[in-house]
């Protein structure tokens, strides 16, 4: 059971690393905008340059 003497400080150090990472992320503005990044992620870079003609000519009728 004396392993707990090492486990608890170990666990707390891990937690402290997590908290530190969170604080740094928050300070750098990672959580400033929670909406746009979600949108940004849904576009593949392939969307950037599709074959020009098919993209415009293949507009389906609504």
């Amino acid at each position: 059971m004396s392993v707990i003497f090492i486990m608890i400080p170990g666990a707390l150090i891990l937690a402290a690393i997590g908290v530190l990472a969170f604080v740094l992320a928050a300070k750098r503005g990672q959580f400033d905008d929670l909406d746009t990044p979600a949108i940004r992620a849904i576009f593949d870079d392939d969307d950037l340059n599709p074959p020009v003609k098919t993209a415009t000519d293949a507009q389906p009728e609504e």
């Binding site: 937690a15 969170f22 928050a26 400033d32």
Partner: protein, 824 residues
């Protein structure tokens, strides 16, 4: 044009926006078809930059097509050095960065397109959009591209760009937001880790634990607990100390008391190795309270961001006339005394000045409350903030910025806001009772147990009492209920900037309403007409040629889109009337004196004119050979929902006043039409603020009686700032937006009813939560006083009470009880 039934182009759709192309614009030989010039130019820009992928993206995210609207502005004012100094940040490496607010950004495809700006405008390094705030931060190379080019580029894509003002204040706010979030996150992490220790200790208490382990876990708990109290929990102590210094009641006081005593006694027990420690409960307490406050903070921030966006949309530039006669667009800040500026018809006047050339009518309703347009000629003084209605003018600037009439009013607003005593909120009022009751009970407990079983037991039970009665539920319930209320208000088109405002609206108090623009629409139009529709139509066709405000009111009253008639031989007499032919019929339109000088006005028409004047309408007489005389009553029409809304407010026992800068006769006429008994006319902006202050002084004797000011113009801004709650209505001036606590985004005054109902509902929710939490606290206090409670029971009771109130705060709201159909 889209709904034109004769259009054969039902199946031909615009290549850009997917709306059908009007038949007149179909070009059979072209491979691509466009519904308007705007769409065509956006398509060309996108196609030229190889960004056709936009259409694929948009199809997948936004099924509702929208027509694009480029403003075609030159954005010259963005290149002004004075402007660049305040709004553009220079980055190392010769790059510059600025934030632009964009109109029309609404979906994922917009984000996609705006972030591809570097491939549309050369010299732009990066563009990062924020869809919630509708802004983009543009990073660019100033030696390659001008800011105005970037703005024009965005404009060509259909997003009108506006520079975001107040960068420093925003920076500070972002920092504050981040600190807040860090506190919540850290408190959560600490609470979670303490719980692990606590489970070991509680398990040990039930099953038995060796003293070594117990001591170890207690010391770890203390370490984490003290950390929670001095880092994220610090805010409660700071708040409590601030409240004690100013001798105001605040919920932070009982919270800080519980945290402080619990922390000290827990540390003492840890060190001495005897008795209960409370660090798990304390850490959870800190975390839950911070979560509640953070949720409310976010909701308030969303509302104030939205208001800020609207502030930025108000024009901030002026047209300067140079010495050689050419004109330059400059930001409003660089206008100086003695300069000559030009103001187009429909533009707003940027500075106080003397009219040099031209004559026009100006609308000063925002500044004076006067509903009728004021005619001005060369040599007359005009004030900043007024709107030029009829024709272009040039004026020599006599005062700028803070020395203008509007600037002085703004100083009044600032001082009124600073002087305003904060509303003592419900939770804070309760806090006073709380503190006294809890301290009394704690002293009794301490005294009794010290007498019967010694000091240690006395302190033990008194501390347990302080912790279990900590107003956690109340501290959580209020912000939760408030943020839900603000979210609901925003959905029905009401932006609430402060939670205290909602509390003040829950009980009827005094409501002071402005007239022009609040009860009335703030625009001249034909309120009554006593002539055939045929005649009115002819009049409208003639008046189409004139820019006079009354002429526009007449034109707007008739739908002329189907009319084939044309006007000819127009003869206008300034300030009197107009005559001309519509097809072959001769018609004269003008003031009664103007018509009377040509034709004898008959008795019936004269009575009609008198009736109009009694109703405070400006009479306009029409004359044709065929139909004889007709009379139009021009005025500022009352909003459709005003009378009914005021009726409801009256029924709810609100004390309603009308306070207008307009002529007393007009104010009285409007008041009697909507059913307001207490009326004041010709009140100056300063007078309005004084009136509000007087009402507050009078009502402060009756506690809980609040003074609400509802207005729209600059003339109301000081009064809005003075009142307990200032409400700005839709279409209000910039100043009133800033001074108000609440902003109605939808037309009319009916949202006031919705707001009052929501406020009432919210306060009832908070009251119910309070009863529940007092119930819990009474049980807990009884257990603590009798010495039955231990730390485990306290640790279980507290989260249960918190969960109950959080569940209660999302209670359903059914909307205002009466006239539900009316608002839709």
């Amino acid at each position: 044009m889209i709904n034109d039934p004769t259009s054969i182009a039902q199946t031909i759709r615009c290549d850009h926006c997917q709306l059908s192309v009007p038949s007149g614009l179909i070009e059979p030989d072209e491979p691509h078809q466009f519904c308007c010039h705007g769409c065509k130019s956006v398509w060309n820009v996108l196609h030229g930059a190889g960004l056709d992928g936009y259409y694929a993206v948009r199809k997948s995210v936004d099924p509702n097509p929208q027509r694009t609207s480029a403003t075609g502005d030159s954005y010259e004012e963005l290149d002004d050095p004075a402007f660049q100094e305040t709004c553009v940040e220079n980055l190392p490496g010769g790059q510059a960065q600025t934030e632009l607010l964009l109109e029309g950004m609404h979906c994922a495809a917009c984000v996609w397109l705006i972030e591809r700006l570097p491939s549309v405008v050369d010299g732009v390094v990066e563009s990062r959009a924020n869809i919630r705030r509708r802004t983009t931060v543009v990073c660019y190379q100033p030696d390659k591209v001008k800011l105005s080019d970037i703005a024009r580029g965005l404009d060509r894509l259909g997003y009108a760009a506006h520079p975001a003002r107040g960068a420093a204040a925003r920076e500070a706010r972002i920092k504050e937001d981040r600190k807040f979030l860090i506190r919540v996150g850290v408190a959560g992490a600490i609470a979670g880790n303490i719980m692990i220790m606590a489970i070991a200790l509680y398990g040990g208490a039930l099953e038995g634990i060796s003293p070594t382990w117990e001591t170890t876990f207690r010391w770890y708990s203390m370490g984490l607990g003290v950390l929670a109290l001095v880092w994220p929990g610090r805010v409660f102590f700071i708040g409590a100390i601030a409240a004690l210094r100013t001798r105001t009641a605040h919920l932070d006081i009982p919270i800080a008391l519980a945290l402080g005593v619990g922390g000290l006694w827990g540390s003492f027990n840890t060190i001495t190795g005897k008795g209960e420690i409370y660090f798990d409960s304390l850490a959870i307490l800190v975390f839950l309270l911070l979560v509640g406050r953070w949720v409310q903070h976010r909701q308030q921030r969303a509302a104030s961001d939205h208001v800020e966006l609207m502030l930025t949309l108000t024009p901030s530039n002026a047209t300067r006339v140079n010495e050689d006669g050419s004109t330059t667009r400059v930001p409003i800040e660089s206008i100086e005394e003695g300069m000559v500026v030009q103001v187009e018809a429909g533009g707003s006047i940027p500075a106080d000045g003397i009219l040099e050339t031209g004559h026009t009518n100006i609308d000063t309703s925002f500044i004076t409350g006067e509903s009728r347009p004021v005619p001005v000629h060369a040599g007359d003084e005009v004030v900043a903030g007024a709107t030029n209605l009829s024709s272009p003018i040039r004026l020599r600037v006599s005062a700028v910025g803070e020395s203008t009439r509007v600037g002085k009013l703004m100083q009044l607003v600032a001082s009124a806001s600073a002087d305003k005593a904060p509303i003592v909120r419900f939770a804070d009022r309760i806090a006073v009772i709380f503190v006294f009751t809890v301290i009394t009970l704690a002293l009794i407990t301490f005294a009794y147990w010290t007498w019967s079983s010694g000091v240690r037991t006395g302190i033990e039970y008194a501390t347990a009492l302080l912790i279990v009665t900590c107003p956690c539920a109340l501290g959580l319930a209020t912000p939760m209920a408030m943020s839900i209320a603000m979210g609901r208000a925003a959905k029905s088109g009401v932006l609430v900037k402060s939670a205290a405002a909602i509390e003040s609206l829950a009980r009827p108090g005094t409501m002071i309403l402005d007239k022009t623009g609040t009860i009335t629409q703030g625009q001249m139009s034909v309120v009554e007409h006593n002539c055939s529709n045929e005649m009115l139509k002819c009049a409208a066709i003639i008046e189409q040629t004139s820019n006079h405000p009354i002429a526009r009111a007449i034109t707007d009253s008739v739908d002329l889109s189907e009319s084939q008639s044309t006007a000819s031989d127009i003869n206008q007499t300034i300030g009197a009337g107009i005559s001309g032919y519509v097809d072959d019929d001769y018609i004269e339109i003008g003031s009664p004196t103007y018509i009377n000088s040509n034709h004898q006005i008959d008795e019936a028409t004269n009575t009609e004119i008198k009736k109009m004047i009694e109703q405070s309408l400006s009479p306009v007489v029409l004359y044709t050979k065929e139909h004889g005389f007709g009379v139009l009553g021009i005025g500022d029409p009352i909003r459709d929902d005003a009378a009914q809304s005021i009726q409801i407010l009256n029924d709810q026992r609100w004390d309603i006043h009308l306070c207008s800068g307009d002529h007393p006769a007009i104010a009285r006429a409007v008041a009697s039409q909507v059913g307001i008994m207490k009326v004041q006319g010709s009140v100056s902006p300063e007078g309005k603020a004084e009136f509000v202050k007087a009402m507050r002084a009078q009502s402060s004797s009756q506690s809980k009686h609040r003074v609400i000011m509802v207005g729209d113009g600059v003339n109301d801004a000081a009064a809005l700032a003075c009142a307990d709650v200032g409400i700005a209505v839709q279409g209000g001036a910039e100043a009133s937006l800033e001074a108000a606590d609440i902003y109605l985004m939808t037309q009319g005054v009916y949202p006031l009813i919705t707001l009052c109902s929501l406020a009432k509902h919210t306060m009832r929710t908070i009251h119910v939560s309070l009863i529940f939490s007092i119930g819990y606290n009474t049980i807990a206090a009884a257990l603590a006083m009798t010495g039955v409670i231990n730390a485990l029971i306290a640790a279980i009771l507290m989260p249960i009470s918190s969960l109950t109130v959080v569940a209660l705060s999302s209670r359903k709201w059914k909307g205002p009880r009466k006239c539900q159909s009316f608002s839709s």
